[in-house]
Amino acid sequence: MIEASDIYKSFDGNAILKGISFQVNKGEVVAIIGPSGSGKSTLLRCINLLEKIDRGRITVENEVMVSTNDSGKAVYADKKNLRKIRLKLGLVFQSFNLFPHFSVMQNITDAPVNVAGISKDEARKIARELLVKMGLEDKADAYPCNLSGGQCQRVAIARALALNPDVLFFDEPTSALDPQLTMEVLRVIRKLAQENMTMVVVTHEMGFAREVADRVIFMDNGVIVEEGTPEEVFNNPSNEKTRAFIKGFDK
């Protein structure tokens, strides 16, 4: 479904991604773990077009988002195609980034109505269903400032889902939340996993990654160090670095 190969990205000469290749298959949940600064978030941001890669190739459902030409420069698809590809991808941020001046309902319906061109009534119907799924059916008229962090993040998930993306990316979705609120957000993501939603989750919640992910990717220093089933990566890591990282979390 998503195929990324040999991705390079540096900021001001500082190499952050050094040749990352991976793929996401339909219905799969991929967890990306690794120490801070390893490039996990940058990778997600590159795939979601928030950063432009220097080199490499990314395709989404066989449509080329970016490829590298003969002189080694990344060439992106034209605007129209990028817009099309973008709508197949959803991203949930660590800091929610809800629109504070919109109610919960408007937060969820604004893009479907003004980007996807869905009718207002239809969008509201979809939003209400999503809010039920998120356990927030009574919050449609609330404003983000009146919600807890966990509720905000669930609204953000609903907002991303409202565009019916093929893949949903999470960039440390619970890192800004306390343990109890983390639980309610993870519960929602787990539910989505059971519905076979294709997801890529950058997370520090090792227990969650182990339980929900079909595949775990361990990144360090801009490269993928190890990749495999949770079983393989957590119980039987083949790489020294992975072992050290996971051991640090078990303590």
């Binding site: 077009l49 973008r86 941020f93 629109f99 504070p100 001046h101 893009a111 003004n114 980007v115 991303a160």
Partner: protein, 210 residues
């Protein structure tokens, strides 16, 4: 009674000046703010100089230059009132531009990114997501400028526009009394009282979110 109707006529001109200036300066300021924020150093440089000059020289001098400048340079005259509106709008746009810029810069990057990943165009992100939040943040600063503008309309007497202050001054020296000036002062104050109320109302209206 005669005094009141005299001043009222002047006040209409003042209000006209005020409204027209805002009508041009508010959008122009936004364009200048965009220019100031531009990555193109030529554009940001030019708008930077524009703001610096407009804020760094007397408004009264600018009025005189806009009115008499065309005469000296092209030997053509322009209407006094038009010159007054042009000078005021150009001057206020500079101040508004800096207020907008501060407001725009204060919106977290995450708001743009969230809009972007939801597929909004850059225009949509700005007008649907960023600008409404900017307006809330800059209202107090804008109200300062708007109130100052009411008082600055009196400066256009420098190029002979017959607005309220001019009318009061003329009447004052004609009847040898300070009363017309006091009444004019009261008129200005009432106008600003209304404006103050308006902004307080607007701020309250936008108080529904943090």
């Amino acid at each position: 009674m005669k005094l009141i109707s005299l001043l009222c006529n002047g006040m209409l001109v003042s209000i006209e000046l005020f409204v027209l200036t805002l009508l041009f300066a508010l959008p122009l300021g936004l364009i200048v703010a965009f220019g100031r924020r531009s990555k193109n150093i030529l554009i940001s440089g030019i708008t930077g100089i524009y703001i610096s000059v407009m804020r760094g020289t007397p408004l009264m001098l600018q009025l005189v230059v806009v009115y008499f400048g065309p005469y000296y340079i092209f030997e053509r005259t322009i209407d006094r009132f038009t010159a007054a509106v042009v000078a005021l709008a150009l001057n206020y746009a500079a101040y508004f531009a800096e207020i907008y810029r501060g407001g725009i810069d204060s919106i977290p990057k995450g708001q743009y990114e969230a809009g972007e990943v939801l597929g909004f165009t850059r225009m949509q992100v700005f007008f649907r997501i960023v600008l409404p939040q900017v307006v809330k943040r800059i209202l107090p600063a804008i109200s300062n400028e708007v109130i100052t503008l009411v008082k600055d309309t009196a400066l256009v007497t420098a190029i002979g526009v017959a607005e309220m202050f001019k009318a009061a001054q003329t009447e004052s020296s004609r009847i040898l009394s300070v009363r017309p000036l006091f009444v004019a002062g009261a008129f200005y104050y009432v106008m600003n009282l209304v404006i103050e109320r308006f902004f307080r109302f607007a701020e309250k209206k936008l108080d529904y979110y943090k």
